[in-house]
């Protein structure tokens, strides 16, 4: 069995859900390319923020070779989508968010925490104290 993937740190999920081609190629309904959130983040850090791979890897909490692998996979997916004219969907991946979202392990909801001085974080929905910030958020296909 393969070793489980380390969770990648992402500041925020993408603002949009993906891209669709303008005047798509007629014929076979091209299936969307699924770009994972970690791949999106790799593209963002490398090609938008213009960070070096080592810096970007530190930011995502992974090793530089792992970053390179994710980034390469992201580029290939973008290339595939452009050439084949398939839509891109942003979704899933072994990631967690560092924005101020918390998740409750009992009821599964997410919430934000406004009063930063208050250290005890209780789920506002079910009052469970079983909450955490670095919870893996596995998006499922709906």
């Amino acid at each position: 069995m393969a070793r489980p993937k380390k969770l990648r740190k992402i500041t925020n999920p993408p603002k949009i859900k993906g891209f669709s081609p303008i005047r798509p190629f007629q014929g076979n309904g091209s299936s969307p390319v699924l770009l994972d959130y970690d791949e999106f983040e790799a593209l963002r850090l490398s090609d938008y923020e213009l960070k070096s791979q080592s810096e970007a890897a530190v930011e995502m909490g992974i090793s530089r070779p792992t970053f390179a692998r994710i980034y390469e996979s992201a580029r290939r997916k973008v290339g595939k989508s452009f050439v084949e004219g398939s839509p891109i969907l942003f979704q899933g991946g072994p990631v967690y968010f560092t924005s101020e979202w918390y998740s409750c392990k009992d009821c599964g909801c997410w919430f934000n925490h406004l009063n930063k001085e208050d250290p005890v974080i209780v789920c506002p929905l079910c009052r469970s104290a079983n909450t955490g910030q670095s919870e893996a958020i596995e998006e499922t296909n709906k």
Binding site: W101, C107, C109, W110, F111, N112, L114, P124, L125, C126
Partner: protein
């Protein structure tokens, strides 16, 4: 304390609406009196600006928490500045009754 919940219908048996700005109804639940008020969302068909307009609506009711399935980036920033807590429920089959029951439990 008042809590706003986005709803797909006009009754407590309706399920949570996963969108915030363009949900069908807002439910304003008062934890002290236990009363619920259903408000049809006037911004449901809005082309743009549904999020901020909906925020204005729920903020004018004096809510302190908002329960929905999803919040946009714009919406979250405004709610943060208004000091209103956001709760995202990922389960779209949850009914308004169930959420009220959970939230009022001590």
């Amino acid at each position: 304390m008042k809590i706003a919940i986005t709803s797909t219908g006009n009754s407590p048996d309706a399920t949570l609406d996963s969108r915030f700005g363009r949900c069908s109804y807002f439910v304003i639940y008062d934890t002290e009196s236990g009363s619920t008020e259903f408000i049809p969302n006037p911004n449901k068909q809005a082309m743009e600006g549904a999020g901020p307009a909906s925020i204005q609506l729920v903020a004018s009711k004096g809510v302190e928490k908002v329960v929905s399935g999803e919040f946009g980036a714009k919406v979250k920033a405004i709610f943060d500045s208004l000091k209103i807590q956001l709760i995202i429920v990922n389960d779209g089959t949850m009914t308004i009754n169930k959420i009220i029951e959970m939230i009022s439990k001590k």
